[in-house]
Amino acid sequence: MTSPSAGTGAGIMRLHPDGTASRGSRILGIVVLVSVVVFLYVALVASAPDKSLDAQGQLVRIMYLHVPSAIACYTAFFVTAVASGMYLWKKTVGWDALASSSAEIGVLFVALTLLTGSIWGHTTWGTWWEWDPRLTSTALMFVLYLGYLALRRAIIDPVSRAKQSAILGIIAFVNVPIVHYSVDWWRSLHQTATVASLDPKIDGLRLFALMFGMVVALLLYVWLMMHRFRLAFAEAALEAKGLDLALAERRAEARADGGSVPPSVTTGGAS
């Protein structure tokens, strides 16, 4: 293990000593960066505008961001639900850190989905918001998972925070289809035009741009997760470390109070 101060590895693999980077995350980071550049080239330059939308041909390029970020946010919330379930089963810190990290990144991607959807809405319907079924259920999911993050911040005790947010993580995900289904029903009564324009006929290089966009979004999600998970794990380790310190202080307080620290504590004692 090289000395922590000088940073590990050399050249492009030189990692910051304190950070959450590792060989794996650095390699994936490079892959993500390269694929983003390729994606931008294909999405913005190489692929032709969509003739069927006449003057708005260029606008189809917004879809290359909108659809992938939607895919990424559903993936993130699915990971949160699975990690929450695993936490209830295994009760280890790792699963809780995974669930919370994925939820936070999911909220970021939901925000992106809403932003790109709203800009797309302004170009085609002239209003910054359209009660299109998918946009509406995405907005509801946004608030729902903001509530999940708010619940995590509201609970101090790490164990009960993990357990309660695990249960909410599962219930929230179970809600996604219900919200989706009822909103689709709700809007399908009133108009179908918006649904059609959200999926303009896509083929050729444009289809590649869209598909490649999804791959890049998922790679980016995994990369962000590697760092966010390690940050959450480090914070949990810090909390645990704080506990040992508090335990030592508490026992010092006992001696100061004139009480004697019990034999089994000093000999066998807590690990």
Partner: protein, 235 residues
């Protein structure tokens, strides 16, 4: 953890405990009259505020009656849930609940039944209020009643579950709305659409919304029965 709920269901203690809890809640309401003297007036106030907001003489109120009705129910529901769990978190009662031999699933169903009954009373009053204040003449009575019962079950089950989730927290008053309202949005949609169908004398296509409400209720009753125990433990 789930096996506890399953075997207590077999012993039938779940329903008996639920009856005990809802009996206690009704007696508590009888003594304190919080719903009658505070939540009910609030519900009517909401209807009046809608009228200020929507210019009564331009028929908007009458057309929007189904939606406004269910919005008023949703806001009153938040107060009813806050009250239902404020009672349980006061003065160490939650410890007494844990120490008692009451089956957690029974407590969940009891609290849900309590919230549901309070909501039904509120809905009846709101229904009269909407009919009188907004001049909306109701049709399709069967669909209206069915929607009310199913929606109330769903709201009560979700409310009882989210109520205990937020119960132990200092910030529960501000956290409960953002946790609950996105979850009960489908009930608002289904309720409004079913009522619109009833009011438009086209009860036929209102029934599929009742199906959605029934599915929502069954789902939340099931989740509640199994998730209530760990939540009560942690709150």
């Amino acid at each position: 953890m789930p096996d506890l709920a399953a075997d207590s269901m077999l012993r039938g203690s779940m329903l008996r405990d639920a009856a005990m809890v809802v009996g206690k809640d009704l007696r508590l309401e009888w003594r304190s009259r919080v719903t009658l003297s505070q939540i009910l007036p609030f519900a009517l106030l909401v209807l009046i505020l809608f009228a200020f907001a929507l210019d009564p003489d331009r028929r908007i109120l009458e057309e929007a009656t189904p939606g406004l009705f269910w919005l008023a129910v949703l806001f009153s529901m938040l107060l009813a849930i806050q009250r239902a769990y404020a009672v349980e978190t006061a003065d160490g009662v939650i410890d007494a609940l844990r120490l008692s031999d009451l089956d957690p699933a029974g407590i969940f169903l009891g609290k849900a039944a309590g919230i549901g009954l309070h909501l039904l009373v509120l809905e009846v009053v709101l229904f009269v209020g909407v009919t009188v204040l907004y001049g909306a003449t109701p049709h399709g009575g069967l669909l209206v009643v069915a929607t009310m019962l199913l929606a109330t079950t769903g709201l009560a089950a979700a409310g009882s579950l989210y109520g205990v989730l937020a119960a132990g927290l200092r910030v529960r008053d501000t956290l409960l709305p953002i946790l609950m309202l996105p979850v009960v949005a489908p009930v608002l949609i289904a309720g409004t659409e079913a009522f619109s169908a009833a009011y438009a004398n086209a009860s036929g296509d209102g029934w599929k919304w009742c199906g959605l409400l029934a599915a929502f209720s069954v789902l939340y009753l099931a989740i509640g029965i199994f998730a209530f125990e760990p939540l009560l433990e942690e709150s």
